[in-house]
Symmetry: C2
Subunit: 368 residues, 2 copies
């Protein structure tokens, strides 16, 4: 039994006017009975989870939802299942159970479950509410916040989706206890991202505390989650639909998505691809003369200490990466725009880099 009520709960708000919503962060939060009802209107609730997370936490969540008609759906686990066929299983389940427009969906799991459940909520009967209950570090600090939902297409990641904000995000840090080390490290990649693009002090804190995070020190994890959510919430509130500053959150993602798509969304975790992608962005920034050698070394050093990959898998080949980078959502007028770094804590979105330097980064990444 968790001592939830003795723990102080942190609340970060995503300020989006009438679509404003809270991110609750605490150990033992899934033992509280008051949080779900505050964000559910109708009587029907569908919990969508996967084969890994379901056996661990579905019962606890269903217990909190006893007062509703609570149904659940268990999908397979993995990025390769973030597709149209699995999405359709959610629609099948909702229609088979006769779920009406006043139902609520609950996403219990990592980024894949959150993105797919959110997208199903965006489309079911042209939009129903949903609640995020992220159980991986990556989902807690990034994908569950901000309303980006969607699925992959064989030709590109997150190519089909919608902006659809959740009604609330419930982060029970106790669920990290069952997260394997590799998933934890993948989440740390996105945590490091906030430091790199807009929070130099946080980067320095991470540099000093990376071992505590890898060792699952509860206070360090709670702080990293809260600070990441604060960063994400600020950016989303300023630019919900990614017309400007929000695009900087994609540091490492154009490279990373190309790696993931080229691998068929298998073998590598999203956070691992992003880690390699951030290194590639840093190297291109160095080649453009925007970062000095020491700063590049400091970035690569932290990612290495986090036991994350610094390079794309050599077997992919530069041609495949180029191909997949060309379908990125940030392509404008035929030119791939990239998020690059001016310093630790300052990113920019630009198409104004030398093509030859990008080629060199792709080549060195693959010959490593």
């Amino acid at each position: 039994m968790s001592d939830a009520y003795e723990q102080p709960m942190k609340t970060v708000h995503v300020e989006l006017g009438e679509r404003r919503y809270p991110i609750y962060i605490a150990a033992g939060l899934l033992a509280r009975n008051d949080l779900f009802p505050a964000h559910i209107q109708g009587r029907q609730v569908m919990v969508v989870t996967n084969e890994t997370v379901g056996p661990l936490y579905l019962e606890a969540v269903a217990e909190r939802l006893q007062v509703y008609q609570c149904e659940s759906l268990i999908l397979p686990d993995g990025e390769q299942y973030k597709n149209l066929a699995e999405l359709n299983k959610i629609f099948d389940a909702l229609l088979t159970r006769r779920f009406a427009r006043d139902c609520t969906l609950v996403a219990l799991g990592g980024g894949v479950i959150g993105d797919m459940t959110g997208f199903a909520a965006a489309c079911y009967q042209r939009g129903v509410p949903f609640i995020q209950v992220p159980t991986t570090l990556l989902a807690m600090v990034d994908s569950s916040v901000g309303g980006k939902t969607g699925i992959n297409h064989p030709q590109g990641k997150n190519m089909i989706g919608a902006f659809h904000q959740p009604r609330a995000v419930l982060i029970d840090t106790d669920t990290l206890a069952t997260l394997d080390d590799r998933q934890l490290r993948a989440g740390i990649a996105e945590v490091i991202k906030y430091g790199l693009i807009r929070d130099e002090a946080f980067f320095s804190w991470l540099d000093a505390n990376i071992e505590e995070l890898l060792g699952r020190d509860p206070a360090a994890l709670a702080y990293a989650i809260e600070r990441s959510c604060l960063n994400k919430a600020e950016v989303v509130a300023a630019d919900e639909r990614e017309g400007g500053v929000r695009a900087l959150l994609n540091l490492g993602h154009t490279f990373g998505h190309a790696i993931e798509a080229a691998l068929g969304y298998r073998d590598w975790l999203h956070g691992e691809a992003v880690a390699a992608g951030m290194c590639m962005a840093a190297r291109l920034s160095r080649r453009m003369g925007w970062l000095d050698v020491e700063t590049l070394a400091r970035i690569e050093g932290l990612i290495k200490r986090a036991e994350l990959p610094l390079y794309a898998p050599p077997r992919l080949g530069a041609a495949a990466l180029r191909e997949f980078m060309a379908v990125d959502k940030k392509v404008k007028a035929g030119q791939v725009r990239l998020v690059l770094l001016r310093s630790i804590g300052e990113a920019l979105m630009t198409a104004d880099y030398a093509q030859g330097q990008l080629e060199a980064v792709l080549d060195e990444s693959l010959s490593s």
Copy 2:
């Protein structure tokens, strides 16, 4: 060659603030070079059409779009193809041609093409612009205006979709020349709907001019289209996301969707199902004492003169209809809400009807 420039063009605006857009109505409009460019920002345009409409009008539309990278996709024709598999063909085409987020989709066809293309535009890269070029009367007067997009699910019509407004609606009334009589009549069903729910004078005009419409009198058709679009634009501007008055546009649709779903989206056209559904709604309204016998007879009389069905297909059975009505999007707290009539020109949404009277309406419809 059309004498487009000699025809006066009517413009109806859908007033939605920064998402405001025009509906252009004229004969020969597809011969004009000025309308598309006013509503296209990027360089890539994908025209989505079907096997019936494509051979007739794709060339003319492509000619107007010569200055862009103009691609096209031809889907099969029919409501039974408004599904996930066909939707995915649009995503495949967009990704194969490397379409970026600044592309524009053009829906050239009837309601099925408009709904699917609009939904693809809503989801592709989380939202790209699109333009409606309706070529059926039904699409011109109803489905192309207002931003409701989506696809069917085997268990219910339009169950998966999004609100996504077009940038413009281009109605070339010349395209009605190639519309077969049955499709024309199906469109007239939705025209009659506007008279029934909110425009008594228009209903009287239709009563006096139904033979002219069926005889394709150009002036009568142009007037009916413009007046229908004006009605639709007013309702959508007042209630874009169907929180209130917009729901009245669904007169006959809960019955009609159940008929369509029970038929597997084959055999009957949407407008035909709506016509029978409006008669069923009128009969239930009569049974509740809200309509008098003469008014019911007047409504049924007009629909009969329009050569549209007054009853659901007897072979379906009341149980099947009840089953499909229960998944309607307007179900709230387990109760099916219906749009019923207080008089010609005045509709209401209510769950406050006698269940036994609804059963009687379903039974009499099927024993007719």
